[in-house]
Assembly symmetry: C2
Homo-oligomer: 248 residues x 2
Amino acid sequence: MRFQPYRSPSTGREVRAVLFDTFGTVVDWRTGVARQAADFAAERGQELDAEAFADEWRALYQPAMEAIRTGTREFATLDTLHRENLDQVLRRHGFDPERLGAETLEELNKSWHRLPPWPDSVEGLAAIRRRYIVGPLSNGNTCLLLGMARSAGLPWDVIIGSDMTRTYKPLPQAYLRTAEFLDLNPGEVMLAAAHNSDLHAARKAGLATAFIARPTEYGPGQTADLAPESDWDLAASSIPELAARLGA
Amino acid sequence: MRFQPYRSPSTGREVRAVLFDTFGTVVDWRTGVARQAADFAAERGQELDAEAFADEWRALYQPAMEAIRTGTREFATLDTLHRENLDQVLRRHGFDPERLGAETLEELNKSWHRLPPWPDSVEGLAAIRRRYIVGPLSNGNTCLLLGMARSAGLPWDVIIGSDMTRTYKPLPQAYLRTAEFLDLNPGEVMLAAAHNSDLHAARKAGLATAFIARPTEYGPGQTADLAPESDWDLAASSIPELAARLGA
Protein backbone atom coordinates (compact mmCIF):
# COMPACT_ATOMS: atom_id res chain seq x y z
CA MET A 1 0.00 0.00 0.00
CA ARG A 2 1.34 3.42 -0.92
CA PHE A 3 2.23 5.64 2.02
CA GLN A 4 -0.17 8.53 2.50
CA PRO A 5 1.66 11.61 3.72
CA TYR A 6 0.05 13.62 6.49
CA ARG A 7 -2.31 16.26 5.14
CA SER A 8 -2.22 19.54 7.07
CA PRO A 9 -5.73 20.76 7.92
CA SER A 10 -4.48 24.35 8.01
CA THR A 11 -2.67 24.38 4.66
CA GLY A 12 -4.84 21.78 2.93
CA ARG A 13 -1.71 20.12 1.53
CA GLU A 14 0.21 16.92 2.04
CA VAL A 15 3.39 17.55 4.00
CA ARG A 16 6.60 16.63 2.12
CA ALA A 17 9.25 18.12 4.41
CA VAL A 18 9.34 18.37 8.21
CA LEU A 19 11.80 21.05 9.25
CA PHE A 20 12.89 21.65 12.81
CA ASP A 21 13.78 24.61 14.88
CA THR A 22 17.04 23.40 16.41
CA PHE A 23 18.08 25.33 19.57
CA GLY A 24 15.74 24.04 22.23
CA THR A 25 13.65 21.84 19.93
CA VAL A 26 16.28 19.32 18.77
CA VAL A 27 19.28 20.12 20.95
CA ASP A 28 19.64 21.12 24.60
CA TRP A 29 21.65 24.32 24.17
CA ARG A 30 21.54 25.26 27.87
CA THR A 31 23.11 22.07 29.20
CA GLY A 32 25.54 21.96 26.27
CA VAL A 33 26.80 25.51 26.55
CA ALA A 34 26.91 25.40 30.35
CA ARG A 35 28.99 22.22 30.35
CA GLN A 36 31.52 23.63 27.89
CA ALA A 37 31.68 26.96 29.72
CA ALA A 38 32.24 25.11 33.01
CA ASP A 39 35.12 23.16 31.44
CA PHE A 40 36.56 26.40 30.09
CA ALA A 41 36.45 28.02 33.54
CA ALA A 42 37.81 24.93 35.32
CA GLU A 43 40.81 24.78 32.98
CA ARG A 44 41.59 28.32 34.11
CA GLY A 45 40.93 27.60 37.77
CA GLN A 46 38.05 30.10 37.92
CA GLU A 47 34.62 29.80 39.49
CA LEU A 48 31.68 30.15 37.11
CA ASP A 49 27.89 29.98 37.34
CA ALA A 50 27.77 28.05 34.08
CA GLU A 51 23.96 27.95 33.71
CA ALA A 52 23.78 31.72 34.16
CA PHE A 53 26.60 32.08 31.62
CA ALA A 54 24.61 30.00 29.11
CA ASP A 55 21.36 31.87 29.79
CA GLU A 56 22.99 35.27 29.42
CA TRP A 57 24.80 34.33 26.22
CA ARG A 58 21.55 33.03 24.79
CA ALA A 59 19.63 36.14 25.90
CA LEU A 60 21.85 38.37 23.74
CA TYR A 61 20.89 36.41 20.64
CA GLN A 62 17.54 38.06 19.87
CA PRO A 63 18.69 41.70 20.13
CA ALA A 64 21.72 40.91 17.94
CA MET A 65 19.50 39.45 15.21
CA GLU A 66 17.00 42.26 15.55
CA ALA A 67 19.44 44.81 14.11
CA ILE A 68 19.70 42.61 11.02
CA ARG A 69 15.97 41.96 10.78
CA THR A 70 15.22 45.68 10.86
CA GLY A 71 17.89 46.41 8.27
CA THR A 72 20.05 48.62 10.48
CA ARG A 73 22.84 46.09 10.05
CA GLU A 74 23.86 43.95 7.08
CA PHE A 75 23.44 40.20 7.36
CA ALA A 76 25.98 38.56 9.66
CA THR A 77 26.04 34.90 10.61
CA LEU A 78 24.95 33.58 13.98
CA ASP A 79 28.55 32.46 14.56
CA THR A 80 29.57 36.10 14.19
CA LEU A 81 26.81 37.33 16.52
CA HIS A 82 27.63 34.68 19.13
CA ARG A 83 31.29 35.66 18.94
CA GLU A 84 30.52 39.33 19.49
CA ASN A 85 28.19 38.58 22.39
CA LEU A 86 30.70 36.23 23.97
CA ASP A 87 33.03 39.09 24.90
CA GLN A 88 30.25 40.78 26.83
CA VAL A 89 29.26 37.62 28.73
CA LEU A 90 32.86 36.77 29.55
CA ARG A 91 33.40 40.22 31.05
CA ARG A 92 30.30 39.93 33.22
CA HIS A 93 31.68 36.68 34.60
CA GLY A 94 35.13 38.01 35.37
CA PHE A 95 37.07 37.00 32.26
CA ASP A 96 38.96 39.48 30.11
CA PRO A 97 38.45 38.44 26.48
CA GLU A 98 41.45 40.56 25.41
CA ARG A 99 43.73 38.24 27.37
CA LEU A 100 42.29 34.97 26.12
CA GLY A 101 43.54 34.83 22.52
CA ALA A 102 41.55 34.58 19.31
CA GLU A 103 41.84 30.81 19.03
CA THR A 104 40.55 30.17 22.56
CA LEU A 105 37.59 32.48 22.00
CA GLU A 106 36.84 30.86 18.64
CA GLU A 107 36.91 27.44 20.26
CA LEU A 108 34.57 28.52 23.06
CA ASN A 109 32.29 30.14 20.50
CA LYS A 110 32.00 26.78 18.79
CA SER A 111 30.22 25.46 21.89
CA TRP A 112 27.10 26.14 19.83
CA HIS A 113 28.32 23.61 17.24
CA ARG A 114 28.58 20.90 19.90
CA LEU A 115 25.23 20.70 21.65
CA PRO A 116 23.73 17.45 22.90
CA PRO A 117 20.48 16.30 21.28
CA TRP A 118 17.48 15.73 23.53
CA PRO A 119 17.41 11.98 24.25
CA ASP A 120 14.62 11.33 21.73
CA SER A 121 15.83 13.56 18.87
CA VAL A 122 18.03 11.25 16.79
CA GLU A 123 15.59 8.35 16.91
CA GLY A 124 12.64 10.62 16.09
CA LEU A 125 14.34 12.34 13.16
CA ALA A 126 15.43 9.01 11.71
CA ALA A 127 11.83 7.76 11.88
CA ILE A 128 10.40 10.84 10.17
CA ARG A 129 13.15 10.74 7.53
CA ARG A 130 11.91 7.38 6.29
CA ARG A 131 8.81 9.12 4.90
CA TYR A 132 9.57 12.85 4.76
CA ILE A 133 12.43 15.17 3.97
CA VAL A 134 13.94 16.30 7.28
CA GLY A 135 16.13 19.32 7.92
CA PRO A 136 16.66 22.23 10.26
CA LEU A 137 14.84 25.55 9.92
CA SER A 138 16.99 27.49 12.30
CA ASN A 139 18.64 30.83 12.70
CA GLY A 140 21.95 28.97 12.75
CA ASN A 141 24.30 29.33 9.79
CA THR A 142 25.18 26.34 7.63
CA CYS A 143 28.56 25.67 9.19
CA LEU A 144 27.12 25.81 12.71
CA LEU A 145 24.23 23.48 11.83
CA LEU A 146 26.61 21.12 10.05
CA GLY A 147 28.92 20.97 13.05
CA MET A 148 25.91 20.37 15.28
CA ALA A 149 24.65 17.59 13.03
CA ARG A 150 27.99 15.80 12.96
CA SER A 151 28.51 16.21 16.68
CA ALA A 152 25.00 15.15 17.74
CA GLY A 153 24.45 12.62 14.93
CA LEU A 154 21.37 14.40 13.56
CA PRO A 155 20.32 12.59 10.37
CA TRP A 156 19.31 15.61 8.26
CA ASP A 157 18.64 15.20 4.56
CA VAL A 158 19.57 18.79 3.88
CA ILE A 159 20.78 21.84 5.79
CA ILE A 160 19.51 25.22 4.69
CA GLY A 161 21.25 27.70 6.95
CA SER A 162 20.20 31.26 7.64
CA ASP A 163 23.25 32.35 5.63
CA MET A 164 21.51 30.76 2.62
CA THR A 165 18.19 32.53 3.13
CA ARG A 166 20.13 35.57 4.43
CA THR A 167 17.43 36.46 6.91
CA TYR A 168 16.34 35.50 10.39
CA LYS A 169 13.16 33.98 11.78
CA PRO A 170 10.51 35.11 12.48
CA LEU A 171 10.66 37.17 9.27
CA PRO A 172 8.48 35.48 6.65
CA GLN A 173 11.32 35.20 4.11
CA ALA A 174 13.17 32.84 6.45
CA TYR A 175 10.38 30.30 6.03
CA LEU A 176 9.51 31.08 2.41
CA ARG A 177 13.03 30.99 0.98
CA THR A 178 13.62 27.67 2.71
CA ALA A 179 10.53 26.21 1.01
CA GLU A 180 11.75 27.67 -2.28
CA PHE A 181 15.14 25.91 -2.05
CA LEU A 182 13.19 22.68 -1.60
CA ASP A 183 10.97 23.56 -4.57
CA LEU A 184 7.95 23.02 -2.33
CA ASN A 185 4.83 25.03 -1.74
CA PRO A 186 5.08 26.52 1.78
CA GLY A 187 2.00 24.47 2.72
CA GLU A 188 3.94 21.27 1.99
CA VAL A 189 6.53 22.22 4.60
CA MET A 190 5.91 21.67 8.30
CA LEU A 191 7.80 23.56 10.97
CA ALA A 192 8.24 21.62 14.19
CA ALA A 193 9.24 23.85 17.09
CA ALA A 194 9.16 24.13 20.86
CA HIS A 195 8.34 27.86 20.64
CA ASN A 196 4.83 29.11 20.01
CA SER A 197 6.12 32.40 18.54
CA ASP A 198 8.09 30.56 15.86
CA LEU A 199 4.99 28.54 14.94
CA HIS A 200 2.86 31.68 14.73
CA ALA A 201 5.28 33.18 12.21
CA ALA A 202 5.52 29.93 10.25
CA ARG A 203 1.74 29.64 10.02
CA LYS A 204 1.49 33.23 8.87
CA ALA A 205 3.97 32.40 6.09
CA GLY A 206 1.76 29.49 5.03
CA LEU A 207 3.57 26.53 6.58
CA ALA A 208 2.09 23.59 8.43
CA THR A 209 2.95 23.56 12.14
CA ALA A 210 3.76 21.12 14.94
CA PHE A 211 4.48 21.94 18.57
CA ILE A 212 6.98 19.83 20.47
CA ALA A 213 7.03 20.38 24.22
CA ARG A 214 10.49 20.96 25.71
CA PRO A 215 9.54 22.06 29.24
CA THR A 216 13.11 22.15 30.58
CA GLU A 217 14.80 24.02 27.74
CA TYR A 218 15.32 26.98 30.07
CA GLY A 219 15.95 24.84 33.11
CA PRO A 220 13.68 23.55 35.87
CA GLY A 221 11.93 26.92 36.41
CA GLN A 222 10.72 27.37 32.85
CA THR A 223 7.40 29.22 32.60
CA ALA A 224 6.91 29.86 28.85
CA ASP A 225 6.14 27.43 26.03
CA LEU A 226 5.09 24.64 28.35
CA ALA A 227 2.13 23.81 26.12
CA PRO A 228 0.76 24.61 22.64
CA GLU A 229 -0.90 28.03 22.70
CA SER A 230 -2.83 27.69 19.47
CA ASP A 231 -4.46 25.01 17.33
CA TRP A 232 -1.26 23.92 15.62
CA ASP A 233 -1.70 21.07 13.15
CA LEU A 234 0.02 18.69 15.54
CA ALA A 235 1.38 18.71 19.08
CA ALA A 236 3.66 16.13 20.67
CA SER A 237 5.85 15.72 23.70
CA SER A 238 8.76 14.23 21.72
CA ILE A 239 9.98 13.82 18.15
CA PRO A 240 9.13 10.09 18.01
CA GLU A 241 5.59 11.02 19.08
CA LEU A 242 5.50 13.52 16.21
CA ALA A 243 6.76 10.74 13.90
CA ALA A 244 3.85 8.56 14.98
CA ARG A 245 1.34 11.34 14.35
CA LEU A 246 2.82 11.82 10.88
CA GLY A 247 2.39 8.11 10.19
CA ALA A 248 6.15 7.75 9.75
CA MET B 1 45.90 8.30 18.33
CA ARG B 2 44.37 11.42 16.88
CA PHE B 3 43.40 11.16 13.21
CA GLN B 4 45.66 13.17 10.92
CA PRO B 5 43.67 14.64 8.05
CA TYR B 6 45.21 14.46 4.59
CA ARG B 7 47.39 17.48 3.85
CA SER B 8 47.14 18.70 0.27
CA PRO B 9 50.59 19.31 -1.24
CA SER B 10 49.12 21.89 -3.62
CA THR B 11 47.23 23.98 -1.04
CA GLY B 12 49.52 23.24 1.90
CA ARG B 13 46.48 22.71 4.12
CA GLU B 14 44.76 19.84 5.85
CA VAL B 15 41.58 18.87 4.02
CA ARG B 16 38.39 19.17 6.10
CA ALA B 17 35.70 18.67 3.45
CA VAL B 18 35.69 16.40 0.41
CA LEU B 19 33.09 17.62 -2.07
CA PHE B 20 32.05 15.70 -5.14
CA ASP B 21 31.04 16.54 -8.62
CA THR B 22 27.88 14.44 -8.93
CA PHE B 23 26.79 13.81 -12.56
CA GLY B 24 29.26 11.22 -13.80
CA THR B 25 31.43 11.19 -10.68
CA VAL B 26 28.94 9.86 -8.10
CA VAL B 27 25.93 8.88 -10.20
CA ASP B 28 25.60 7.25 -13.64
CA TRP B 29 23.40 9.83 -15.34
CA ARG B 30 23.52 8.17 -18.76
CA THR B 31 22.18 4.79 -17.67
CA GLY B 32 19.69 6.44 -15.31
CA VAL B 33 18.22 8.88 -17.80
CA ALA B 34 18.21 6.33 -20.63
CA ARG B 35 16.32 3.79 -18.51
CA GLN B 36 13.67 6.30 -17.49
CA ALA B 37 13.33 7.64 -21.04
CA ALA B 38 12.96 4.06 -22.33
CA ASP B 39 10.16 3.44 -19.81
CA PHE B 40 8.51 6.69 -20.84
CA ALA B 41 8.59 5.68 -24.53
CA ALA B 42 7.46 2.10 -23.85
CA GLU B 43 4.41 3.33 -21.90
CA ARG B 44 3.44 5.22 -25.04
CA GLY B 45 4.24 2.34 -27.39
CA GLN B 46 6.96 4.31 -29.17
CA GLU B 47 10.44 3.27 -30.23
CA LEU B 48 13.30 5.26 -28.74
CA ASP B 49 17.10 5.21 -28.87
CA ALA B 50 17.26 5.87 -25.15
CA GLU B 51 21.06 6.28 -24.90
CA ALA B 52 21.02 8.85 -27.70
CA PHE B 53 18.14 10.60 -25.92
CA ALA B 54 20.18 10.77 -22.71
CA ASP B 55 23.33 11.94 -24.52
CA GLU B 56 21.49 14.67 -26.40
CA TRP B 57 19.68 15.91 -23.31
CA ARG B 58 22.98 16.05 -21.45
CA ALA B 59 24.72 17.81 -24.35
CA LEU B 60 22.32 20.77 -24.12
CA TYR B 61 23.33 21.34 -20.49
CA GLN B 62 26.55 23.30 -21.06
CA PRO B 63 25.20 25.82 -23.60
CA ALA B 64 22.18 26.47 -21.36
CA MET B 65 24.40 27.26 -18.38
CA GLU B 66 26.75 29.32 -20.52
CA ALA B 67 24.13 32.04 -21.00
CA ILE B 68 23.96 32.36 -17.22
CA ARG B 69 27.71 32.24 -16.71
CA THR B 70 28.24 35.06 -19.20
CA GLY B 71 25.47 37.12 -17.64
CA THR B 72 23.23 37.26 -20.70
CA ARG B 73 20.59 35.43 -18.67
CA GLU B 74 19.64 35.67 -15.00
CA PHE B 75 20.29 32.67 -12.78
CA ALA B 76 17.89 29.79 -13.42
CA THR B 77 18.08 26.37 -11.77
CA LEU B 78 19.31 23.27 -13.50
CA ASP B 79 15.80 21.82 -13.14
CA THR B 80 14.55 24.77 -15.19
CA LEU B 81 17.28 24.36 -17.84
CA HIS B 82 16.68 20.61 -18.08
CA ARG B 83 12.98 21.25 -18.49
CA GLU B 84 13.53 23.73 -21.32
CA ASN B 85 15.96 21.41 -23.08
CA LEU B 86 13.63 18.46 -22.69
CA ASP B 87 11.15 19.88 -25.21
CA GLN B 88 13.86 20.07 -27.84
CA VAL B 89 15.09 16.52 -27.25
CA LEU B 90 11.57 15.13 -27.24
CA ARG B 91 10.84 16.73 -30.62
CA ARG B 92 14.00 15.29 -32.15
CA HIS B 93 12.85 11.85 -31.06
CA GLY B 94 9.34 12.15 -32.44
CA PHE B 95 7.41 13.28 -29.35
CA ASP B 96 5.31 16.44 -29.30
CA PRO B 97 5.80 18.05 -25.87
CA GLU B 98 2.67 20.17 -26.38
CA ARG B 99 0.58 17.01 -26.29
CA LEU B 100 2.17 15.43 -23.24
CA GLY B 101 0.86 17.59 -20.40
CA ALA B 102 2.80 19.59 -17.84
CA GLU B 103 2.74 16.89 -15.18
CA THR B 104 4.13 14.19 -17.48
CA LEU B 105 6.93 16.48 -18.62
CA GLU B 106 7.71 17.48 -15.03
CA GLU B 107 7.88 13.84 -14.05
CA LEU B 108 10.21 12.96 -16.95
CA ASN B 109 12.32 16.00 -16.08
CA LYS B 110 12.78 14.57 -12.61
CA SER B 111 14.71 11.67 -14.14
CA TRP B 112 17.75 13.69 -13.08
CA HIS B 113 16.62 13.38 -9.45
CA ARG B 114 16.58 9.59 -9.71
CA LEU B 115 19.97 8.51 -10.98
CA PRO B 116 21.71 5.32 -9.86
CA PRO B 117 24.98 5.69 -7.96
CA TRP B 118 28.05 3.99 -9.36
CA PRO B 119 28.37 0.68 -7.48
CA ASP B 120 31.15 1.97 -5.21
CA SER B 121 29.74 5.44 -4.45
CA VAL B 122 27.64 4.91 -1.32
CA GLU B 123 30.25 2.77 0.42
CA GLY B 124 33.02 5.21 -0.51
CA LEU B 125 31.17 8.30 0.65
CA ALA B 126 30.25 6.65 3.95
CA ALA B 127 33.92 5.81 4.54
CA ILE B 128 35.13 9.34 3.82
CA ARG B 129 32.34 10.80 5.96
CA ARG B 130 33.76 9.14 9.05
CA ARG B 131 36.72 11.54 8.89
CA TYR B 132 35.72 14.43 6.62
CA ILE B 133 32.69 16.52 5.77
CA VAL B 134 31.19 15.15 2.54
CA GLY B 135 28.85 16.90 0.16
CA PRO B 136 28.19 17.55 -3.50
CA LEU B 137 29.80 20.42 -5.42
CA SER B 138 27.59 20.20 -8.45
CA ASN B 139 25.75 22.39 -10.89
CA GLY B 140 22.55 20.75 -9.66
CA ASN B 141 20.13 22.80 -7.59
CA THR B 142 19.39 21.86 -3.98
CA CYS B 143 16.09 20.15 -4.65
CA LEU B 144 17.59 18.06 -7.45
CA LEU B 145 20.60 17.04 -5.33
CA LEU B 146 18.32 16.26 -2.39
CA GLY B 147 16.08 14.06 -4.54
CA MET B 148 19.18 12.33 -5.91
CA ALA B 149 20.56 11.77 -2.41
CA ARG B 150 17.34 10.24 -1.13
CA SER B 151 16.86 8.10 -4.22
CA ALA B 152 20.46 6.85 -4.42
CA GLY B 153 21.10 6.77 -0.67
CA LEU B 154 24.03 9.19 -0.82
CA PRO B 155 25.12 9.95 2.75
CA TRP B 156 25.92 13.66 2.38
CA ASP B 157 26.52 15.79 5.45
CA VAL B 158 25.36 18.90 3.66
CA ILE B 159 24.01 19.91 0.25
CA ILE B 160 25.04 23.28 -1.13
CA GLY B 161 23.20 23.57 -4.42
CA SER B 162 24.07 25.91 -7.28
CA ASP B 163 20.90 27.85 -6.38
CA MET B 164 22.67 28.70 -3.10
CA THR B 165 25.88 29.90 -4.72
CA ARG B 166 23.81 31.27 -7.63
CA THR B 167 26.49 30.49 -10.16
CA TYR B 168 27.72 27.57 -12.21
CA LYS B 169 31.00 25.70 -12.33
CA PRO B 170 33.60 26.26 -13.67
CA LEU B 171 33.26 29.90 -12.56
CA PRO B 172 35.49 30.45 -9.50
CA GLN B 173 32.60 31.71 -7.35
CA ALA B 174 30.94 28.30 -7.56
CA TYR B 175 33.87 26.82 -5.64
CA LEU B 176 34.62 29.80 -3.42
CA ARG B 177 31.08 30.45 -2.20
CA THR B 178 30.72 26.78 -1.34
CA ALA B 179 33.86 26.95 0.83
CA GLU B 180 32.49 30.11 2.42
CA PHE B 181 29.22 28.42 3.45
CA LEU B 182 31.36 25.79 5.16
CA ASP B 183 33.47 28.52 6.79
CA LEU B 184 36.56 26.84 5.39
CA ASN B 185 39.57 28.18 3.58
CA PRO B 186 39.31 27.03 -0.07
CA GLY B 187 42.51 25.03 0.45
CA GLU B 188 40.77 22.95 3.14
CA VAL B 189 38.18 21.83 0.59
CA MET B 190 38.92 19.05 -1.89
CA LEU B 191 36.97 18.65 -5.09
CA ALA B 192 36.71 15.05 -6.27
CA ALA B 193 35.64 14.81 -9.91
CA ALA B 194 35.79 12.59 -12.96
CA HIS B 195 36.38 15.59 -15.22
CA ASN B 196 39.79 17.17 -15.62
CA SER B 197 38.28 20.52 -16.61
CA ASP B 198 36.35 20.75 -13.34
CA LEU B 199 39.55 20.01 -11.40
CA HIS B 200 41.50 22.65 -13.34
CA ALA B 201 38.93 25.28 -12.33
CA ALA B 202 38.84 24.07 -8.72
CA ARG B 203 42.64 24.22 -8.45
CA LYS B 204 42.65 27.72 -9.91
CA ALA B 205 40.14 28.74 -7.20
CA GLY B 206 42.52 27.35 -4.56
CA LEU B 207 40.91 24.00 -3.78
CA ALA B 208 42.61 20.65 -3.31
CA THR B 209 41.84 18.17 -6.09
CA ALA B 210 41.23 14.46 -6.61
CA PHE B 211 40.55 12.69 -9.90
CA ILE B 212 38.21 9.70 -9.92
CA ALA B 213 38.22 7.70 -13.15
CA ARG B 214 34.77 6.97 -14.57
CA PRO B 215 35.72 5.56 -17.97
CA THR B 216 32.18 4.54 -18.99
CA GLU B 217 30.31 7.70 -18.00
CA TYR B 218 29.67 8.41 -21.69
CA GLY B 219 29.24 4.76 -22.60
CA PRO B 220 31.65 2.14 -23.90
CA GLY B 221 33.18 4.44 -26.53
CA GLN B 222 34.31 7.19 -24.14
CA THR B 223 37.50 8.93 -25.22
CA ALA B 224 37.86 11.87 -22.79
CA ASP B 225 38.72 11.92 -19.09
CA LEU B 226 39.99 8.36 -19.07
CA ALA B 227 42.94 9.36 -16.89
CA PRO B 228 44.19 12.29 -14.82
CA GLU B 229 45.65 14.94 -17.10
CA SER B 230 47.52 16.89 -14.47
CA ASP B 231 49.25 16.32 -11.15
CA TRP B 232 46.08 16.44 -9.06
CA ASP B 233 46.65 15.90 -5.35
CA LEU B 234 45.12 12.44 -5.58
CA ALA B 235 43.86 10.09 -8.25
CA ALA B 236 41.76 6.97 -7.75
CA SER B 237 39.66 4.56 -9.74
CA SER B 238 36.82 4.53 -7.21
CA ILE B 239 35.54 6.46 -4.20
CA PRO B 240 36.62 3.77 -1.69
CA GLU B 241 40.11 3.99 -3.19
CA LEU B 242 39.99 7.75 -2.62
CA ALA B 243 38.86 7.07 0.97
CA ALA B 244 41.91 4.89 1.48
CA ARG B 245 44.24 7.56 0.10
CA LEU B 246 42.65 10.07 2.46
CA GLY B 247 43.29 7.74 5.38
CA ALA B 248 39.53 7.51 6.04
